[in-house]
Symmetry: C2
Subunit: 236 residues, 2 copies
């Protein structure tokens, strides 16, 4: 019997690879995206298309009001950093940090997992090329899994505990890309840029674009998406 699993899907490279891995492990994925007032809204359209193309059983979008809380360059009207070196990126938690974002996302995913009677939840967090976000670390995920089993009717009364799967957590971006390619993922569907133009074309110079391009370089593969800057990235 195929088991259902909830897969958090942003439409980016990591979550798309995670979806492909969940499928390859025999799960029937129910994908979940959030409309949280993000400035890079092209993500949402990509996520829906990816869910369809990769064979999700169902795709859900939940609207939540993170922007009302304020506090991040990803939802507020402050510029996202561009052209940063790796040293600069790893020097601290960046302005694109959204307070408690993964905790909020995982909470909703947990609710959905319980509602559909599943026990498995996939999230594409990554502690290697993680851009400095605290809620992408293994100890954070372990704490949430423990919480999930204390929080819920299914965890308390059920015979099968919740499991949070983080298949990318120890992989470099290049290893993630190689694993996705081996599973047939079309990365042309994905979107990573924090500052796309109105047509959704990636900038090539924000932290997310730079990490992605570096990953493709190290994987010896060509990134199929287009970038605004025809001369390529310039992380001087």
């Amino acid at each position: 019997m195929t088991r259902k699993a909830v897969v958090l899907l942003s439409g980016g490279l990591d979550s798309t690879t995670t979806l492909a891995i969940a499928k390859s492990q025999g799960f029937q994925p129910v994908t979940l995206s959030f409309d949280y007032g993000q400035r890079h809204r092209v993500e949402l359209a990509r996520a829906a298309k990816i869910a369809r193309c990769l064979g999700a059983a169902e795709h859900r979008v939940l609207k939540i009001d993170l922007a009302a809380l304020g506090g991040s360059a990803l939802t507020a009207d402050t510029p996202v950093p561009i052209g940063r070196s790796e040293a600069e990126m790893s020097a601290g938690i960046p302005s694109t940090y959204v307070p408690a974002r993964n905790t909020i996302f995982l909470s909703f995913a947990l609710a959905l997992t319980e509602v559909i009677g599943a026990h498995d939840l996939f999230i594409g967090v990554n502690a290697v090329d993680y851009s400095g976000y605290p809620d992408c670390r293994p100890e954070y995920i372990a704490a949430f899994e423990k919480l999930a089993n204390l929080a819920t009717k299914a965890g308390v009364e059920g015979d099968s505990p919740f499991k949070i799967h983080t298949p990318l957590i120890d992989l470099t971006k290049a290893e993630i890309i190689l694993q996705g390619l081996s599973l047939g993922v079309d990365y042309g569907l994905t979107h990573s840029c924090y500052a796309p133009d109105e047509q959704g074309v990636a900038c090539g110079v924000c932290d997310s674009c730079l990490l992605r391009l570096k990953g493709f370089r190290e994987a010896g593969a060509k990134d199929p998406v287009a970038y605004r800057d025809a001369g390529g990235p310039h992380p001087s």
Copy 2:
């Protein structure tokens, strides 16, 4: 210096008492309510009034889409149970259980706490007269506090850890009421009923009304709110 604290405020008896306690401890409360598609929407108007009357520094309402997840008599179109005995109430997790609700609420509260630069968060959970909800237990709260300190920029980089205050957790409903009365709380402002009529008048027979009325009886106090059933509750 007065410290800010986020207080989750539903407009019910417990959260209102919690707000009064936070004030009495010298905190400057920022109250947070959720518009989550609850059927008893009178709560939201009461919460705003309570925040004003009890002197909150600020009152925020976040709209979240719990109803889109389904799975609870509090948001879905299934009847709430009425007229249950205490034995029936304590026989398991009721249909009014909302999957992962406190986890979702606490996640947003955590985000707000971080955004306003606070470190303290109050929630009026209660493990005694708790109606069988798993996410009201001390071990659940401890797990969330641990998570909060792993999840956030403030928890990781800050010098002061997050603290989740649960001043009601070990109190009976009667003890909660006595404490609130000693702090001058006007319980006529509060709303507890799961199934109010269109004017917001409480039914007197749902689990929440029955627990409330029992609390007032045991406290030797009169509940100032009106009930639909003029003959009073009939928990037989």
